[in-house]
Symmetry: C2
Subunit: 723 residues, 2 copies
């Protein structure tokens, strides 16, 4: 590999000039950035590098914010459940909230904007039957139904930006003032944001790239009365709510939202909820507004011949890069954190931008960079997870975050990053713009579709959830697989049928969630379309509780296509005879031990026609069946591993009926993967493990060779043409 | 123990006179019975014993049945699901059924009595759009919606009695004719049954007890096309259906039933289904009819100075002993199979009869009585399981079934039964009619209530189900506990509130089942009543998915009372902080390892006020909380064991707030139990295990003594009065 330069961004800091220069050289960096806590010296800014400067749009200007408390960002929040013990019930609606973050909105009439709900019946309590006691932050319900439960949905001001709050609490910033977030939808704030940016751009001539962190509304992040995280939803629109927004919504969409449309029984429309029409309308409305306003900020940046880069996180609400309005913003680049292959693809697949950048791990923070620890290990894990996704869809740049001075103290880490940056550039230079070989086309079907591309089963970015990891393994496996991947919704199916190019559809999730589909599975258009499509040759892979909703004697509405259903306890009287495993199966040829993660209980075969591949004491965990010309495959769960990646890939080939194409651009060893680029006559074999691997490699004609790969090695080969 | 006699029934058989006399003497038997396959000699009938003779009401007379094929019993059956591939769909509605058992009813117009349902939409297909092809047993749907699924609900004749069929197939009876069941509701059959019985009674002067096996309608038992069991529901009313019954129902109840009211999406109203009003009306209607007709048969028996005994099983549908009409039948005695404590109590608690009899295990069949096996082991297990329930509510008699000649060959077994029969009589003579000490009063709450007393979570009698055993442990534990037990329904709660005497309510089952309660939990009267009751001091124990239905942001509708709810994936964004186990807890004082059976996933504490007792990687498995003056306890599952019996008993005391009464008539060793009979100043300590046990015993004043019990020993003590 030749020593190359560029496509790498480093964080820097004050009084670190010479070391910065040294690391820039070793890592081939061509851009430098500041961070929330670090600033760059003028001398550093004069180095031969693009300068990224972090910019906050909606906070960090308390002088302004304090002049316009009525323009502070708002939230709809729900109180705890309260049980009435007699006709009168006092509700401390702030109980459990953090008063440093949350302040009830008494400016707008609670009787108009709040909602008291009887959660036992679901009825809204007539505002005539409750009063707000402002001095004690209480709602008093008169005429309560004894022993019913009640909640209060109230409007509040969010008087502390959640990211600032998190950093403040975590780093013990003491009496440092709290950043007050102000709302782009409000007149003074809107004007202020633009004026301030315009001025700031002029005052920062050395800045080449304005790194917006991010725009107007933070994802929902609420703290509790002990100052600990209470609620976090990386997709949450909580902070976008305001009286102004709700009134504009009514004007534009022709109907008013209820508080319940936002608080959603306390679930706050988590992305695991099947989105309601009202919520979809609402986020569409916010997205349009955000896109329009972002466009204006971006124009100001462009007017100063700078680039506008968006950090995908923090205040990113409304800027969904796979949404309908993102292309209108004019944003030049998106940068985001890369924790694995999924988050890499989330960034690298973003359309309508000039370039994408991934911030790799580890962050240069003391939690990893401490004496006795070797941060190169985490860097290697991160790189192996990311690289297989890069091979499918390269980022244009990579970078790091944190304190460069800290990383500098770990020479082995510095060496390792030198290797990674070189390898990254080598891959990029080879395959950028080149279409990789694609065995099959896979669509992930859920209630969200395209807008949540690579964002299924996520709660907080990068956080592990017991209820999600058995499904998250699917996107992670797909992120580096030689297949094309798209994310489609039930509405796509209803409106346009299954897209022509799709070979295999995956539906995965717990019953009732947006990712499985919930009520959508009662829609006859959805089930009939999919049955017809599979019958005519399509492949359907169901994971967990696919197509699940209890209706008309079925739990899996596509049970006939999958060959299995789940016993809910209603049909115990019906004998379940089919439990015997097949002797062997294409899907499990490479693996003999299984990990289905959380698994699933009580899934059984509908008939002897179902091929049971793995049957545990809890029921079927893996099976297949034919349905006309097509096939259905059921898998109980797919936590991420190389074994499960292989199992899923084989399930994809099998469900599509393309087993005969398996040995094309394929490796026999599941720790290795082959990525081919036919138009440039090259292919790479990667070792995803950190030990040596030997593998057979099948080329595009199915010819086999055997190679040995060093730990983590990538080996490039020229394609040999026959004849 | 003195040698005693009586209260024991033996099966006998031909050519076995002397051995019968010997065993009668050794076991103290005072009654002899025949069986389905065995007859008694005249000589045996002259022994000094009551003679029971098995009698079949509705089968075993093919000469009559063949003369009246239109009076053969009927069933509503549902075809398999069939996917339409175009506008026309042919359904082989008999597919999967056993043509030796099932014959479609073409006598009554299918257009009037059958139903074709689109299971994708739930719509009934207009009879104008389908035709029956009688010669091929097909329904042809025209105007089908392509890719929708369809079922046919059809009326059929059941041309072979299921028990006869089972014995016939199991014992390879070859071309022995198939018993055709005829229907008591039909005119000729009704008259025939009475005439035949009247005549039979006269022809069997030696019979003292007519052992009805049983009356008119067999529980639902359907075989498949391979002659294997396809569907079995011990509570199923399948065989009670007929055109005559449906017409009489419409007349009586004022509305017509649909086939769907009976086939119920293919679930056939399994007792796990929350019963619909239509189904409750229907079984009430059948019960009234059966009671009236049974009463007439019983009168004929009484007219001949014989007793009428009912076998609780086989054709027992409509005779529910805990139902409203049972007392009107005049039946003298009920006999049933005793597999454990639950089935013992099911028999021994039956009201309105002169006596009850339990048929103990093992059955004298070659599957247990074979060379090398020791049937005394099974007999000991059976006795230990039954004895603790006997201590609470004694049967009046016990007995055995099968081939006495087979048992005779196993001397150790003969010895053991001699001990058991003596011990039984000793217990009976001591406690019959004496109220045992009762610590607390426990009600099991489900959608069925009293009518399914001791019959919760049962599918086929005595059969283990993965989805039931974690709940069945509750009734089994309760069956021998020093508590009073009742079974109450949601309607009881709605109409009358919680009965005055109840200290603790148990709600246990999987979500959506009748035993958990399903839709009943949306009824505000139910939830409000129970909240108030607990708040005022009641104890609520929830097992599995208690009070579960997803509604208004809760899954457990009594989450506030239980202190826990279950995460469905909608509220992952809300942090679940409370996972730490309490250091110790009253409920777990005697046990340190746990078996929650199937357990439960994702149950979490609502707040820090919940005492988490056992938290596994799957979430909370055991917890408690206070609610006003009362308490809620959550348990993930309770498979039967002595450890779990102890755990449940402690949970009962704890939830009722009666910990201070724990050491009254109590043993410290959980393998032992104390049963006290204060009115006769006696108490017994039983060793439920088959090894020696040492235990502290607390008497009615809490005074402790320490005793040693031999394996399986029962030790009687006189109560010492103080002062
Ligand atoms: Mg520069
Ligand atoms: Mg006699
Ligand atoms: Mg498990």
């Amino acid at each position: 590999m030749n020593k190359s330069t560029g496509r790498v961004t480093l964080p820097s800091e004050q009084n670190f000039l010479n070391e910065t220069k040294e690391l820039m050289e070793r890592w081939g960096a061509d851009a430098l950035r500041d961070s929330d806590g670090t600033k760059l010296d003028d001398e550093i800014k004069q180095l031969d590098a693009k300068i990224y400067t972090t910019y906050f749009v909606a906070r960090g200007n308390n002088e302004f914010a304090e002049q316009h408390p009525e323009e502070t960002q708002q939230l709809y929040l729900m109180s705890q459940f309260n049980t009435a013990k007699d006709k009168s019930l006092e509700i401390d609606f702030l109980k459990g909230y953090f008063e440093d973050q949350i302040k009830p909105d008494y400016i707008h009439n609670p009787k108009e904007w709040w909602e008291v709900i009887n959660r036992t019946t679901g009825d809204v309590v007539d505002p005539a039957n409750w009063e707000v006691k402002q001095e004690t932050n209480q709602v008093i319900i008169n005429q309560a139904e004894p022993w019913h439960e009640y909640t209060v949905s109230f409007l509040a001001y969010m008087i502390w930006d959640p990211t600032h709050m998190y950093n403040h609490i975590t780093n013990n910033w003491g009496d440092k003032p709290h950043d007050i977030p102000f709302d782009a939808r409000q007149p003074f704030s809107n004007q202020f944001m633009k004026d301030y940016l315009e001025n700031w751009l002029k005052e920062n001539p050395d800045t080449d790239v304005v790194r917006f962190t991010t725009f107007f509304y933070h994802f929902t992040l609420i703290f509790d009365n002990l100052g600990k995280e209470k609620f976090v939803d990386w997709f949450g629109y909580g902070a976008s709510v305001s009286v102004a927004a709700l009134e504009a919504f009514a004007q534009e969409k022709g109907y008013r939202l209820r508080p319940e449309d936002i608080v959603d029984r306390g679930y706050y429309n988590s992305s695991f909820r099947v989105p309601t029409k009202a919520y979809l309308d609402y986020i569409d409305f916010i997205q349009q507004f955000v896109a329009k306003e972002v466009k204006e900020l971006v124009s100001l940046v462009h007017d100063q011949d700078k680039e506008a880069m968006m950090f995908l996180g923090d205040n990113w609400i409304g800027t969904e890069p796979y949404g309908e309005y993102f292309k209108e913003t004019g944003i030049d680049a998106v940068v985001g954190s890369v924790g694995d292959g999924t988050t890499l693809r989330l960034i690298s697949d973003i359309p309508h931008v000039s370039y994408t950048e991934g911030r790799f791990l580890p962050y240069f923070f003391p939690d990893t960079f401490y004496e006795g620890n070797n941060p190169a290990i985490e860097a290697n894990e991160n790189w192996l997870a990311a690289r297989r996704a890069l091979m499918r869809s390269p980022l244009d740049r990579i970078g790091y975050g944190g304190y460069l001075s800290l990383a500098y103290k770990f020479p082995e880490f510095v060496d390792y990053v030198e290797k990674v940056t070189d390898e990254f550039r080598d891959i990029y230079d080879t395959i950028k713009g080149v279409k990789p070989y694609t065995g099959l086309n896979v669509a992930v079907l859920n209630a969200w579709g395209k807008i949540r591309t690579w964002q299924t089963h996520m709660v907080a970015h990068g956080k592990w959830y017991k209820q999600a990891y058995s499904y998250h393994g699917i996107t992670e496996a797909l992120s580096g697989m030689a297949v094309d991947v798209s994310f489609i919704s039930f509405d796509d199916i209803i409106n346009n049928g299954v897209p022509e190019e799709v070979d295999v559809i995956i539906n995965a999730g717990d019953a009732g969630t947006s990712f499985s589909g919930g009520e959508h599975w009662k829609n006859e258009k959805v089930t009939a379309t999919l049955r017809e499509w599979v019958y005519n040759g399509g492949g359907l892979i169901g994971v967990g509780e696919p197509s699940a909703i209890h209706h008309q004697g079925r739990y899996f509405q596509l049970a006939n296509v999958l060959g299995v259903d789940k016993e809910l306890g209603y049909s115990l009287s019906t004998n379940k005879y089919f439990t015997e495993e097949a002797d062997s199966h294409f899907i499990t040829e490479d693996v003999s031990t299984f990990n289905f993660g959380e698994g699933m209980k009580n899934v059984y075969a509908l008939s002897e026609d179902t091929d049971i591949i793995v049957h545990t004491e809890d029921g079927i965990h893996l099976s297949s069946t034919t349905f006309g010309e097509g096939r259905g495959v059921y898998i109980a769960g797919i936590p991420y591993s190389y074994e499960n990646t292989r199992l899923l890939l084989r399930a994809i080939y099998y469900s599509a009926g393309k087993e005969e194409q398996w040995k094309i651009w394929q490796s026999s060893n599941l720790n290795c993967e082959v990525h081919a680029y036919p138009s440039i006559n090259k292919y790479a074999i990667i070792n995803n493990s950190n030990v040596e691997q030997v593998t057979d490699v099948y080329d595009g004609n199915g010819n086999k060779s055997t190679i040995t790969l060093q730990p983590s090695e990538i080996k490039w080969e020229e394609e040999q043409h026959e004849g």
